[in-house]
Structure formats: C-alpha cells, structure tokens
C-alpha cells in the first residue's frame, strides 16, 4: 500500500457539474450532500457497508451457526450439510464466521481512523500555525516515518508491543491493533492537515483574529479548524479504508487480531495453505468479504472527495 495515494489529484472521468457560486454556505453544503447521494457509486458503497453493519450488529443472533463451534464434519464443501459457504478445517461454519467477523473490523477500523485523524489534526494544526523549529523538527520525523510502508512498521510495532486491554469491550489483541494502526496514521494525517492549515493561515480572518489579540489556541480551534474540516472529513474516510486494509493485512501476517476472535484476515491466514488441496472456499469467501468492504469504503471516500472539492 502506498501513502502516495493521497497526492494523486482526483480527476473525474468527465468534468463534474460546477457548483454555482453561492453566498450562502448552508445552501452550498446542502447541494454537496445532494450531489453525494445522487451518485450511484456512493449508494452502492453505502448498501454494501449497510449489509456488513447488519451482520456486525446482529452477530451470533442472526448467523446460522455458532462461529466458534465445530460441527464435527471438518471441511465440508459449500452447500453440503446445510453450510451455505462450507466449513473450515475445524468444521466451523464459514458464513457464520464471516458474518460475525464483520463486527471486529467495523469496530477496529473506524476507531483506528478516529485516533489517527485526532492526533494527526492536532499535530498538523500546531505545525501549520506555529511553523518555525517545531514544524521543521516534526516535519523531518514525519518524513522519516513515511519512508516505511505501513504494513512493515505495523509488523515491527506489533511484534514488539504488549497486548493492551485498555479499550473496554474489545479483545486485547484488537485493542493493540487499533492503537498501533491509529498512531501509525498520525504522521500522514498531520502532513495533510498541515498543508491545509498553511493555505488558511495567511487569510485575512486569521490576521484579524491575531490583531484582535486572540490566543493561538483560540485561532487554531475557532478560526482555522472550522475552515479545514473538508480535508479532515475526506482524510477520515480515506483512513477508514486504509485501516481495513492494514488491520486485515496485519492479521493475515499473524501479528494482528488473534484467535478466538473471528477475523477475515486471520481466517485466510489459517486456511490459505489448504487451497492447494482444493479447499478453496475457506480462503475465497473471506477474501471476497474484505474486497467488498474495502471497495465500498473507497467508493464513498472517492465520491466524498469529488463533492468536497467542487
């Protein structure tokens, strides 16, 4: 995965309809929301996420079998013995495991993104507003951080990190993954927010606030922050997509979410070697689940970015 993604300017296949310049901000925002919901790709994305949300909330109450209970019939093929998507090598129902597995990723990915965007925005605001030595030093550290692919730093951090059970109601291994991925998102979010703050800080309203004698804290939170919410919202949705990507990959690599939590990446890690023996369903169905969720989030993020930039 590449961080460079964020630097590619979004150019729609056809020039989108330009928004007529309106003096009323609210009208423009309603227009943006309308445009967002008008797009078929955003609707498809939301429908897919909706399905996974139902699976996550319903959990074991709506799954056909217990995701953790072996059936005794190990490795039954799809549609045999009442298992629509088959069973894994321990005889557990694949469909149930995928449905319940949605819960984990839908909790972990947004939390990691919230963490990364919160810390990143804070750093970005400080760097962009104060500039100077703080900006130079932090900027260098961020550059050094971004030298490494996210999966690789995640691998290093998770293999050394202890299990933190500090998030109530979340498994310790999941909690650790959330914190590590969230912290690793901080540098890239900080860079994006810093750039947005830099282009705002020269505006007249910031100068006016300074002349009024407002404190730095006031100007950052009350004057600049409301004007950089668009890039922060876009960054948040993009980060959710990357968080799903990162959490699934790290679990697949064996350092992320651990048993007994049913997790899509972990399911593939445990079963992909058996593909060679013809047991494809335990790998393919969780892979389709990951693919559908990642693509759904990206469809929404892309559309949101297009609408916000109008």
């Amino acid at each position: 995965m590449g961080v460079i993604e964020d630097e590619i300017p979004a150019v729609p296949p056809l020039p989108g309809e330009k928004l007529a310049s309106s003096s009323e901000k609210k009208k423009a925002r309603n227009e943006k929301i309308r445009l967002f919901f008008k797009s078929p790709s955003a609707i498809i994305g939301m429908v897919i996420i909706g399905i996974w949300l139902i699976c996550a909330i319903g959990g074991t109450a709506i799954s056909p079998y217990d995701p953790l209970a072996p059936d005794g019939m190990s490795h039954s093929a799809p549609l045999v013995d009442g298992h629509i998507l088959g069973t894994d090598q321990l005889g557990r129902d694949v469909l149930s495991r995928i449905m319940v597995g949605a819960r984990d990723v839908l909790i972990a990915a947004p939390l990691a993104a919230v963490l990364g965007v919160a810390f990143g925005s804070l750093l970005g605001l400080l760097m962009g507003f104060y500039r100077g030595v703080l900006d130079d030093v932090l900027g260098r550290i961020i550059e050094a951080f971004l030298v490494l692919p996210l999966t690789l730093v995640g691998l290093l951090a998770l293999s050394a990190a202890p299990s933190w059970s500090i998030i109530p109601g979340v498994e310790p291994s999941t909690g650790t993954v959330i914190i590590v991925v969230g912290l690793l998102f901080t540098p890239i979010v900080a860079r994006t927010v810093r750039a947005a703050v830099l282009s705002e800080r020269e505006n007249d309203y910031v100068q006016a606030a300074k002349l009024r004698g407002e404190t730095g804290l006031y100007i950052m939170t009350r004057e600049i922050l409301p004007n950089v919410t668009s890039p922060i919202i876009v960054e948040f949705t993009v980060r959710i997509g990357y968080a799903i990507f990162a959490i699934a990959t790290l679990s697949f690599l064996g350092v992320g979410i651990q048993e007994p939590t049913p997790d899509w990446g972990l399911m593939i890690a445990q079963e992909y070697r058996l593909v060679i023996g013809g047991y494809w369903w335990t790998t393919v169905f969780p892979a389709i689940a990951i693919a559908s969720l990642v693509i759904a989030v990206n469809l929404i993020a892309d559309r949101l970015q297009e609408v916000m930039e109008l």
Binding site: V3, L148, L152, I268
Partner: protein
C-alpha cells in the same frame, strides 16, 4: 546541480538517522527481558543474566542504541535471537530473492501503467478511460494478500496453469524459475499498476489543459508533436517520483505476496521474524527496506532534476 545534489543527500542522511531511531524505539516498545524471552520461563536466572550481558541488553536503552549503530556502521547486523545465524547472512540472501521479484514486477508494471494512463487521459471520458480508472482503483485499494489469494485459487489451483509455490530452492532452469514467479509478479503488477497509471493520467490531463499546450496547438503544430514534445515531457515528471516511491513501497507489499506463494524472500523472512519476536532480524530488515526506499526516491529526484531545470535551479 551540485548544490542541489549535496543538499538532497544531506537531507537523506538526516532522514536515515531519524529512521534508525524510530526503528530502534519501535522494537523496544516492550520493556522486556530479552534474555528471558530467548531462553524461556524455566531457564535459571544466572544464564539469563549472562545472556543479557553478552547481548548487551542489560545496558540502558540509549547505550544499546549507540552500540547498535556502531556495529551497523561496521556492517555487523548482529545475530538472530532464534537461530543464532548472522543477520547479515539471513537478510542478504533473502533480500536478493526479493529484489529479483521486485525487479520483475517493476519492468512489467511501469511501461504498462504509463501507457495505460497516457492513453486513458488522451481518450478522457471514453469507455477505456472509465474501465481503467475503476480497475486501477480496485486493484490498488485491495490488500496484496487478497489479490494474491484470488490469483492462487484461480490460476494455480482451479486452472492449474501456474505452480502454487514460487520458492527458488529447486535447481530448475531460468525459464522454469520465471514461470514460478509469474503469479507473485502478476499480484504485484495488479497492486502497483493503479498508482502509476492514475498519476500518469492526472499528469497528462493537467498538461493538456495548460496554457503552453493551447499555445502549441494554436501555433498549428500537429497533435502528435504537441503530445510528444509539450504534453508528455511535462506530464510524466510527477510520474517519475511516483514510480520511485512505489519502488520503495513494493517491498512492503512483498510481505504478504511472498507468504502466500511461499517464496523465500525478505518479506517471508520478516514475517517469520515478527511472529517469533526475532527483533534483530526484523529491525535490520525494516531498516534495509527503508534504505531501499530512500535510494529509490533519491534516484527519482536526481532524474527529475536532470529533466527539469526548474527543480534544480528553483529555490536557490
């Protein structure tokens, strides 16, 4: 040019230093007893202490860091906690295998992606453009291991066109080896095609709308000449830096792809090291990949500065 080069290299050295600190800090998040971890919970305390003393892990962290840097500077990367093998040896052999895979992936991805991106931009709004944008977006947003496992199931198992294992251990001929690498290379091409193609497309679209392009058309130059001499020369500069950064990130994608196809490269070795908490191997490997990224981006920047005088003369 020389000033630009010196400044750029000095910056790279600062980044490298910071990177070593970051990697050292991350691998020491756990204030664990290294000797105890290696010898297990039942070893007598004396042998744990002795091992810690031998490894230097009884020292305060900043001293450990300085010692480690001294050893790294002499080319000594330490020894594996698990196998006692020299890290230099483990990393060296597997890195060459990974480099082979990465090189193959790049020589397919880069020309293909640039061609597709430029073509899509010139035919903006056409069916090809829409398909290219969608496919590249999907390809680069999926995790590498998802793409690789789809390929494994479809092409290696169901259709049985390619071998399921990519390991280079068997003494087969070069053609056979290439055949074994086909699927892992294909997986990497799918993932990295998208970034480069979309950058090339965006670059060409921006250049096509620029004033200098309009001027060139108004002068009456033929379309082919305008595109070759005016559009592509400007449009592909940003693509060079994307290719450079993606070369570095390619090694991150190798982790999952090498694991799926059981290829004996650096990625698989680092995953093994991470799962067994073999931190000397893991941190040296992570640093090495960081260095590859920095060299790739450095070469990219130099190439851009040669092609574009505005960059090397710009901020002086």
């Amino acid at each position: 040019m020389l000033v630009f080069l010196i400044r750029r290299i000095a910056l790279a050295i600062v980044t490298l230093l910071l990177l070593t600190i970051i990697v050292f800090a991350l691998s020491n998040v756990l204030p664990g007893d290294v000797g105890r971890q290696i010898l297990g919970p039942f070893a007598p305390q004396e042998s744990v202490d002795e091992l810690n003393k031998r490894l230097g892990t009884d020292q305060p962290l900043y001293k450990q860091y300085i010692e480690q840097m001294k050893r790294y500077a002499q080319g000594d990367l330490g020894e594996s906690y698990k196998t006692r093998e020299s890290v230099t040896h483990v990393i060296g052999t597997t890195f060459l295998n990974s480099a082979k895979l990465a090189f193959l992936a790049l020589i397919f991805t880069v020309p293909l992606a640039i061609l597709a991106g430029v073509w899509a931009a010139l035919k903006r709004g056409s069916l090809f453009d829409r398909v290219m944008v969608t496919v590249s977006l999907a390809g680069s947003s999926l995790p590498e291991f998802v793409t690789a496992s789809f390929l494994l199931v479809v092409f290696a198992v169901q259709l049985a066109w390619f071998p399921t294992l990519a390991s280079t251990n068997d003494p087969s001929g070069p053609i056979d080896q290439l055949w074994r690498l086909a699927l892992p290379v294909f997986a990497l091409v799918i993932v990295y095609f998208g970034y480069i193609a979309r950058m090339a497309r965006a670059g060409v679209i921006t250049a096509m709308e620029a004033d200098y392009t309009r001027t060139a058309f108004m002068k009456g130059l033929p379309r082919g000449v305008v595109i070759r001499r005016h559009v592509l020369r400007n449009a592909l500069l940003p693509t060079i830096s994307v290719v450079a950064t993606q070369t570095g990130y390619l090694f991150g994608g190798l982790l999952a792809v090498e694991l799926i196809f059981n290829y004996n490269g650096l990625g698989r070795e680092l995953v093994r090291a991470a799962v067994s908490k073999d931190l000397p191997v893991l941190s040296a490997g992570v640093l090495l990949i960081g260095v590859v990224y920095m060299i790739a981006t450095l070469l990219g920047d130099i190439l851009i500065s040669i092609l574009n005088p505005r960059v090397r003369l710009g901020d002086q």
